[in-house]
């Protein structure tokens, strides 16, 4: 990748959590449902690692196996190299922030935060000090004695976080913790979570179906679908070089064109014939094969004169959305194509439907996609 900021993969760091050939199935015989299919991932220490995928992809199942709430049908879960798969949850130095927070309503905020340490048998003074520290960390000092039913959703979220962080777990699991919050609060908590992760240095494993959230917060992301991990990488890799059509579609907006590989064009580059034009695309392919090409809507210039290697297109509609303008276009082979242009007052110009334009793809921005996982 040409992109500069690149978080090193787990290989050259110590791993916190490793799963090897993890399998989880429910039911038996013909009714067997494979929730996790041969999942092997390696999560590094101090990493903010996100499991991303649509509902039912197995991301929560994987989280629950790591927490110990369910046990794998097959495979290993290693915590710092030791197999923890047979351990019950209360023997794992791993804590969870639940989607619905699961706060103990019969206890105060402070008692909730102190619960894990009390169960671990910490001395009272140490618990009191740590609770005070956690209350400060999540900025909840004033509400320590409140019942958890008497505080707002955002505050409950902070208490759940503090409660899970307090016993100094080696890994913190977060199960869609922001999904119950409204948009503005969610944005705030994204920043807050990232801050907490950096300050505490604890490995975070975060589950979400929100790709924007995943891109904004994660060091690395594992994209999951139908019980399998399709791709693991940092946000830029996942966005810029998705391995297949599913990942490309799931993360961000995408134009995916059908094409045919004509010839090599240097290392990792190919001449590809799409929609009546030859363009250069990057990835892995064999000469002569049918292939799919991914082009992100923002990686395109719209030109008014015919240009070599630019795709001719017809304007269908134009939508002004404030920071951007979205152009709906039709290519020569009838395929739909979306372009997103940044707006600024001097560049702003309206295009009429039916007008002819040429689309020049930014250098190295056409990606070849592998065969789709089914």
């Amino acid at each position: 990748m040409s992109i500069a900021t690149h978080v090193a993969p787990a290989a050259d760091r110590k791993s916190a959590i490793q799963t090897i050939g993890l399998q989880k199935s429910y039911g038996s015989g013909a009714a067997t449902f494979l929730a996790l299919d041969d999942v092997s991932i390696d999560i590094a220490e101090n990493e903010f690692f996100t499991l991303l995928g649509p509902s039912g992809c197995g991301k929560t199942t994987l989280l629950r196996l790591i927490a110990g709430f369910n046990f794998p049908t097959d495979g290993q879960i290693l915590l710092h190299g030791k197999d923890i798969a047979p351990l019950p949850p209360f023997k794992r130095p791993i804590n969870t922030v639940f989607q619905n927070y699961a706060l103990f309503a019969h206890m105060s905020v402070a008692e909730n935060i102190g619960f894990g340490m009390k169960m671990l048998g910490w001395p009272k003074e140490k618990i009191t000090a740590r609770v005070a520290e956690m209350l400060r960390l999540v900025r909840m000092e004033a509400l320590a004695e409140r019942r958890t039913s008497a505080i707002s959703g955002g505050q409950q979220q902070r208490v759940a976080l503090a409660r899970a962080l307090a016993p100094q777990p080696q890994v913190l699991l977060l199960d869609e913790p922001l999904s119950a919050l409204d948009y503005k609060l969610r944005k705030e908590m994204q920043v807050e979570l990232k801050r907490l992760q950096t300050e505490t240095g604890i490995t975070f494993v975060f589950v979400t179906h929100d790709q924007e959230e995943a891109l904004a917060m994660s060091d690395r992301i594992a994209v999951m679908s139908k019980g399998k991990v399709l791709q693991v990488g940092n946000p830029r890799e996942i966005y810029n070089a998705p391995v297949d059509r599913f990942v490309a579609d799931f993360i961000g907006e995408s134009n995916i064109l059908e094409g045919r590989v004509l010839d090599d064009a240097g290392p990792g580059a190919f001449q590809v014939y799409v929609a009546g034009t030859t363009i250069t695309a990057y990835g892995h392919a064999t000469r002569g094969s049918a292939i799919q090409v991914l082009i992100r809507p923002e990686h395109v210039d719209v030109l008014d004169i015919a240009t070599p290697n630019a795709l001719p297109a017809e304007v269908e509609n134009e939508v002004f959305v404030g920071s951007d303008t979205r152009l709906g276009l039709k290519l020569e082979n009838g395929a739909r194509f979306t372009v997103r242009l940044s707006n600024s007052p001097e560049l702003d110009r309206q295009r009429t439907a039916g007008g002819r334009v040429w689309l020049r793809i930014h250098d190295r921005c056409a990606r070849l996609l592998g065969a789709e996982h089914v």
């Binding site: 709430f69 949850p89 209360f90 639940f98 103990f104 619960f115 894990g116 899970a164």
Partner: protein
């Protein structure tokens, strides 16, 4: 609720208030008459002869009544505690385990005393205990405690189970996640949340035990009298409003406890 009431309001149906009045009167009039005549100055059970606390004073000084009342309270407490403990264990086993073969049957078996006619239970217990009695020679209160515990269990079980089923299972998962083993989870999370259900279960069991006549009468050994069986014995002989006074006193704890159960359940 409001929209539902608009769609179909039972209270607006013709005859509703008349039926309701007849039901309330026929349920409570006999009890009211009983209470009123416990304050009768004469020994008549049907003719009002003026107001008096005389029968209450007399009942209060009647050692037989007092002993029977104390025995009733003792029996209800012991059987109530045993029944509540067993009902709690049964309810947890049935709501916190994976589905197992015979789960439905166990549910039916626990609730069996609610379905089987009391006289049938009473006679079966009588026969079994008679055999035990002749084999061991033991004729203490143990039989009554066992019998009362048995028929009190479903009354204690139902509110406890309802409470367990309404509980968020995530709370127990969260406790386990925070290093609480199953026993600590039960003590620190399940039990505090279950408390009101257990109290309600115990109170219902207590009242049911306190009020029982049929099983007690058949199972008890000579000389053992609960307040209800003592009163049953009295009315076979020369009946005076003293029995009314005793009955009125028996009503008070029942009403108080049932009201308390209602309030506890409402407060959730």
């Amino acid at each position: 609720m409001a929209t539902k009431a608009k769609a179909f309001d039972l209270k607006a149906q013709p005859g509703f208030s008349a039926i309701a009045r007849i039901a309330v009167v026929s349920l409570y009039l006999p009890i009211i008459i009983l209470v009123v005549f416990s304050f009768n100055a004469t020994s008549s059970l049907g003719v009002w002869g003026g107001f008096s606390f005389g029968w209450f004073v007399m009942a209060w000084h009647n050692d037989l009544i007092i002993n029977a009342a104390l025995f009733s309270l003792f029996l209800a407490t012991v059987a109530g505690v045993f029944a509540t403990i067993m009902a709690t264990m049964a309810a947890i086993a049935m709501t916190r385990s994976d589905a197992y073969r015979g789960q439905t049957i166990s549910y039916a078996l626990i609730n069996q005393p609610l379905i089987v006619p009391e006289i049938v239970t009473a006679i079966s217990l009588l026969i079994v205990f008679a055999a035990v009695k002749s084999a061991t020679g033991y004729s203490g209160t143990g039989y009554l405690v066992i019998a009362h515990t048995a028929f009190c269990i479903p009354f204690a079980y139902l509110p406890i189970r309802a409470r367990l089923e309404g509980m968020d299972l995530n709370l127990e998962t969260a406790a386990a996640d925070l290093y609480a083993d199953p026993w600590k989870t039960f003590v620190h999370v399940t039990l505090p949340r279950l408390g009101p259900g257990i109290v309600a279960g115990f109170m219902l069991a207590f009242v049911v035990s306190l009020d029982d006549v049929v099983i007690t009468d058949l199972v008890k050994s000579g000389g053992q009298e609960t307040l209800p069986t003592f009163m049953l014995g009295q009315i076979r002989r020369d009946m005076t409003p003293e029995v009314n006074a005793a009955a009125t006193m028996l009503l008070i704890p029942s009403i108080l406890l049932v009201t308390a159960v209602h309030l506890i359940n409402r407060k959730k």
